[in-house]
Amino acid sequence: MDLVTPAIGLVFWATICFGILLFILGKFAWKPILAAVDEREKSIESALSRAEAAKEEMARLTSENEDLLKQARAERDLILREAKQLKDHIISEAKETANVEGTRMIERARLEIDNQKALAMADVKNQVATLSINIAEKILRKQFEDQHKQDQLVADLLKEVKLK
């Protein structure tokens, strides 16, 4: 039948047409198109994965920051506490030193006072002794101006000795 008999001419031209199409489209259309699509797919994929990585990096950085912040806070607290301790320590030490020094000075002052006092007393005693001797001398001189009295005294003394 005519319908199912391939005509040689049409087969020939169809082959040529198809061949040309296959060659030109294959070389100048399909290959660049598919390459471009592939390229774009790859770039989209890599962009997505990069975005994902960036997100992860971001999260990592945030948590790291938080850690750092926490650490810094802890360090600050530690430093403050240490400073406070140091301050307390210094103050108490100063107090103690002041106390000790004060006591020592007081002690020294007392010693000095005692010394001065003793000196003064010794001086006073000497003067009193000198004065007493002078007075006694004067009294004795007055007493023994007359003979009578001297005799009486000797008598008294003798009497006393006898009694003993």
Binding site: D2, L3, V4, T5, P6, A7, I8, G9, L10, V11, F12, W13, A14, T15, C17, F18, I20, L21, L22, I24, L25, G26, F28, A29, W30, K31, P32, I33, L34, A36, V37, E39, R40, S43
Partner: protein, 348 residues
């Protein structure tokens, strides 16, 4: 009220009218001197789905013209090239070597007395209606896809735009739904072939549905074209086949099946492309025949009253044909990919 709706209905009306009026062959029925000839749907339909040496310029509301096409004959004495206009209306043309005449749309060599001379062999390589239409669609394909390709170069790495964004899903469809599942990792080697086959069939299917110039031909429903495509697939499959494929054919298991299996397998080598060839041919031709038959109803009944019925059915069929145009392009490409995939598949 709604301009858009109005415009759409206007376009629909235009296409409806277009599908009734100037189907090639209908006009010639009332042509000779107003004498009513008996309408013969078989001739009309066969003329339409067959090939022709004239390019019918059919357009709504324009009287059909037959554009003569070049006739190229390879005779025993040499090449003969002349315009088919010389053969119009059964005229005999005296070429450089022989005389020629159109007999049932075929060029025959005639002797001096006008009788067909079967002793002289003349191979017909004419640019027929199908050939010129095919060249037109091939040119269209080249323009479209070279443009699209240029768009990819120009807008490198950017989102597709315009024609590019219209074609990209189709190209990706062929790649992701036809080539990749069937061919696996080796798919890039066959992409050119599959894409070319897909778009070649698709555009010719679609142009075949258009009822007026430059469409309204039946190229993918022509056995010569489907045979050519099938042969391409036959060669692609068998030239790329690996040793597992040939082992499967020539060394079936167990050995005592050799006498049965080897002939069966050899037949299967050819039956696959033949099935491809017949499927496309039959589907497209059948669609055209159904549409033309429905249109012919009006002329068979010779009544305008039947026209609305015909039109409704034709619109319905046109929708189905639109689906079939895509479907057959898809199926042909899919099965091609499947056959190639079976031949290059690695067994472990």
């Amino acid at each position: 009220m709604n301009l858009k709706l109005f415009r759409i209905s206007l376009i629909c009306a235009f296409f409806l009218l277009a599908s009734i009026f100037p189907k090639s062959g209908f006009s010639q029925e009332n042509a000779p001197g107003g004498k009513e000839k008996k309408f013969d749907p078989t001739t009309v339909i066969m003329e339409h789905i067959g090939d022709s040496h004239f390019w019918p310029f059919t357009f709504p509301f324009v009287k059909e013209k037959l554009i003569p096409l070049p006739v190229i004959l390879y005779t025993d004495k040499g090449l003969e090239i002349f315009s088919s206009g010389h053969l119009m209306d059964g005229a005999t043309y005296q070429g450089s070597y022989h005389s020629y005449k159109l007999e049932e749309n075929k060029i025959k060599v005639v002797d001096a007395s006008g009788n067909i001379d079967t002793t002289v062999r003349a191979l017909d390589f004419s640019i027929t209606r199908n050939v010129i239409s095919m060249m037109l669609t091939a040119a269209l394909l080249l323009i479209v896809f070279l443009n699209v390709s240029a768009a990819y170069r120009k807008r490198e790495g950017k989102a597709p735009k315009g024609l590019q964004s219209f074609m990209e899903p189709l190209v990706l469809f062929v790649r992701d739904d036809i080539a990749l599942p069937n061919l696996g990792a080796k798919y890039p080697k066959y992409m050119s072939l599959l894409l070319t086959i897909f778009f070649f069939i698709l555009i010719n299917n679609l142009f075949g549905i258009i009822p007026f110039f430059p469409g309204s031909y039946n190229l993918t429903g022509n056995i010569a074209v489907t045979a050519m495509l099938a042969v391409v697939i036959l060669f692609t499959v068998n030239l790329n086949a690996n040793k597992h494929y040939w082992k499967h054919i020539f060394m079936p298991n167990p050995w005592w099946l050799f006498p049965i299996m080897i002939p069966v397998e050899i037949v299967s080598i050819f039956s696959k492309p033949i099935a491809l060839m017949i499927r496309l041919f039959a589907n497209i031709t059948a669609g055209h025949i159904v549409i033309l038959s429905l249109i012919s109803l009006i002329f068979i009944f010779q009544s305008l009253a039947i026209a609305p019925v015909s039109i409704i059915f034709v619109v319905f069929m046109d929708m189905i044909e639109l689906l079939v145009a895509f479907l057959q392009a898809y199926i042909f490409t899919l099965l091609s990919a499947l056959f190639i995939g079976m031949a290059i598949e690695e067994h472990h």
